[in-house]
């Protein structure tokens, strides 16, 4: 057990180092000039050389990559994630302010796409070849082939512009004091991005679950259970669900990274102030500390998800739980 924890802690550490090195390397290779990106072309041209040098120093232009990385990393070890130059605030504070929005959005999409996708997948798999199966499959193929941002734009046009059911963007009503924002306001604003993210996520989960369901329904033990006189639904309930739990767990936690990737696009389309949008801003503005901070947080989230899946596997699967047990 101690070995397992140590092993995973080491892997987590390596992952963090790898992710941050990649972020820093990519930013240093990026053609974006942070000073130009942040003060604008016109201001840059009319700027005195002294001012220019001062800003270069502020944004770290010209500082060698290893030096920048090491100073950032040593600060991180002491608990300081650095300062976001773009938002002019500590990175931890920027992330914390936006994480609530993003996590709410992702949690809704994660649960909804997991539950709906699983149900549709099981339905299609058990009734393979039927009309239901064809409908579910068509839905999934169309959605899996459509870019997330395009679905977002489509929904925005239909439900926000056309029908006017939902606001056009942001997480709270424009021009309303923060103290007056109600929970209903927040839900009203999160609905459309969350639906977009869920609708896209469902396709992935349903298609995978359908394949697994077909595998299970064609397995020897299901065939034998049928040969013993059980109906298809009795078999699905007794043996199907039990054997679908493991792949469903894997899928659901692997889905975290998919949802995270989707949320970056969806937040951008809906101007929803979350981590995804902050990541885009940081990337385009050369704000390396914020970008690295967000990358670390998301990598940690995905790592945590996969670890949870592994632990749950051990809890659910007797073949892992009682390895080398009574014989």
């Amino acid at each position: 057990m101690a070995k397992y924890i140590l092993h995973n802690a080491l892997r987590f550490l390596l992952l963090m180092v790898a992710v941050s090195v990649v972020v820093f390397t990519l930013v240093s290779l990026s053609p974006v000039d942070p000073v130009q990106a942040n003060v604008g072309q016109a201001a840059l041209l009319s700027m005195s050389p002294e001012k220019r040098a001062q800003l270069d120093a502020y944004w770290g232009v010209g500082t060698p990559l290893p030096e920048r990385y090491l100073s950032w990393a040593s600060a991180l070890v002491q608990g300081d994630m650095g300062t976001s130059l773009r938002y002019n605030a500590p990175v931890a504070q920027v992330i914390a302010a936006r994480a609530a929005n993003s996590l709410a959005l992702m949690a809704i999409a994660w649960v909804a796409s997991g539950v709906i996708g699983f149900l549709l997948g099981v339905l299609a798999g058990v009734r393979r070849g039927s009309l239901v199966d064809k409908l579910v499959k068509s839905y999934c193929f169309v959605l899996a082939a459509s870019p997330t941002f395009w679905i977002g734009l489509l929904f925005l046009m239909v439900f926000a512009v056309g029908l006017g059911w939902f606001p056009l963007g942001f997480s709270v009503p424009v021009g309303k004091a923060a103290a007056d924002v109600t929970l209903l306001d927040a839900l009203h604003h999160i609905a459309l991005p969350a639906i977009t993210l869920s609708v896209v996520g469902v396709a992935n989960v349903a298609l995978h679950t359908r394949e697994k369901t077909i595998d299970v329904m064609e397995s020897d033990y299901v065939r034998f259970a049928r040969a013993r006189g059980m109906t298809a639904w009795q078999v699905a309930r007794r043996h199907g669900l039990r054997n679908l739990v493991l792949p469903a767990i894997t899928l659901q936690f692997a889905q975290i990274s998919e949802i995270f990737g989707g949320s970056v696009l969806v937040e951008q389309v809906f101007s929803y102030p979350g981590l995804g949008q902050a990541a885009v801003t940081a990337g385009l503005g050369g704000d390396v500390a914020l970008l690295a901070g967000i990358a670390l947080v998301s990598a940690a989230l995905v790592f945590g998800g996969n670890l949870a899946a592994n632990v749950l596997y051990g809890v659910v699967d007797p073949r892992m739980r009682r390895r080398g047990g009574a014989r």
Binding site: R127, G129, S219, D220, Y221, R223, F224, A225, R226, A227, R228, G229, M230, A232, Q234, R238, H239, R242, N243, V245, L246, V316, D317, P318, R319, R322, G325, A326, R327
Partner: protein
């Protein structure tokens, strides 16, 4: 849902089917089923009995056909053709006997088991007549007696749910709802414990998972599953894979006991030596049909066998020096030529 209606899938076919069934049944009822008398193209063994004057299980002219694309043609222009892994097959199981269906691996014997259990692939067309205990059966009737009148003993531990304790698996699903369901569940638990005790499985075994069972335990657990609802006929599909002959013969003792108690066993196997040791009668399976159904004693000498393929099989036995008379060995192997990959071995 398996397309059970496939059995009578065309209206005219159904009409013909029922008509033929009536005539055949009338004909069958008139036959005097005296023991040890040749009828229905088969001969009897001493153990074979006609309880209530009919066979326990009788299959006549069974054909299983699949529509499939011709693999030899180019992918896009391939035409559909019909493959018939089982064609006009007839076989009978009497009370008190073990009938071995012997044929090469992969020759489609398992499809016979599926058809008798009423389990058809969606793209299969099944034709023919089946009687169980004197009653003509259609797909719905076969589904009703599945597990209760006719039970399957499968090949391997893979037929047990890997995530379910074997005790719960053997008990199966309780019927009814509310109180009736609880009573049925209690009755099934009693029955399962009784079967475990009878077949030498310790009470702790019910809490094990399939991967924790030894090969012998798994075989007995599978048998307990089949016996749960007190069937009359057991269809055993290669129940002794990987066992050497002596162990396999001993593993068949339980089937012998079942037959001695008045049941009938259809033992599907590729192992002719095992069949000759434990069966009362042998049905020689080749090219999708039973070419000869005869008492095991007739395998004493080739002259007693009618079909050339049966004689070729006799010559190919080890004690007859694997004599390749008429290319017996290759003849046996070629029985698997129209293989559909339906079997593991």
């Amino acid at each position: 849902m398996v397309r059970e209606e496939k059995m009578t899938h065309r209206e005219d076919a159904r009409a013909r089917h029922e008509d033929a069934a009536h005539r055949a049944r009338a004909h069958h009822e008139q036959t005097r089923h005296e023991d040890a008398q040749a009828h229905h193209h088969h001969t009897h063994a001493p153990a074979s009995r006609h309880a209530h004057g009919h066979h326990l299980l009788q299959v006549e002219d069974l054909t299983v056909a699949f529509r499939m694309y011709d693999a030899d043609e180019p992918y896009l222009t391939a035409r559909q053709r019909e493959a018939r892994p089982i064609e006009r097959l007839s076989i009978s199981v009497h009370a008190g006997e073990i009938v071995a269906v012997v044929g090469a691996s992969g020759s489609g014997k398992s499809l016979l088991a599926d058809a008798v259990m009423g389990l058809f692939e969606p793209n299969a067309t099944v034709m023919g007549r089946i009687w169980f205990d004197g009653e003509p059966m259609d797909a719905a009737a076969l589904a009703r007696v599945r597990g209760r009148g006719i039970a399957l003993v499968p090949q391997s531990v893979a037929s047990l749910d890997p995530l379910m304790k074997v005790g719960a698996f053997v008990r199966g699903a309780a019927c009814g709802c509310g109180r009736a369901r609880r009573e049925d569940a209690a009755r099934r638990t009693r029955r399962q414990r009784e079967l475990f005790a009878r077949y030498g499985l310790a009470p702790e075994v019910e809490d094990l998972y399939p991967h924790e069972l030894s090969g012998g335990m798994a075989r007995r657990v599978l048998l307990c599953c089949a016996l749960m609802d007190a069937p009359r006929v057991i269809v055993a599909d290669e129940p002794t894979p990987g066992l050497d002959l002596e162990l396999a013969v001993r593993a068949m003792d339980d089937f012998r006991a079942f037959a001695d108690a008045g049941g009938g066993v259809m033992l599907i196997t590729h192992d002719i030596e095992l069949a000759l040791r434990v069966a009362d009668r042998v049905a020689v399976f080749r090219d999708g049909t039973v070419v000869e159904e005869t008492a095991v004693t007739n395998f004493a000498a080739p002259e007693l066998l009618e079909h050339p393929f049966s004689r070729a099989l006799w010559h190919a036995l080890p004690e007859h020096g694997f004599a390749a008379g008429a290319g017996a060995g290759s003849a046996y192997a070629s029985a698997g030529a129209p293989s559909r990959g339906g079997e593991a071995l």
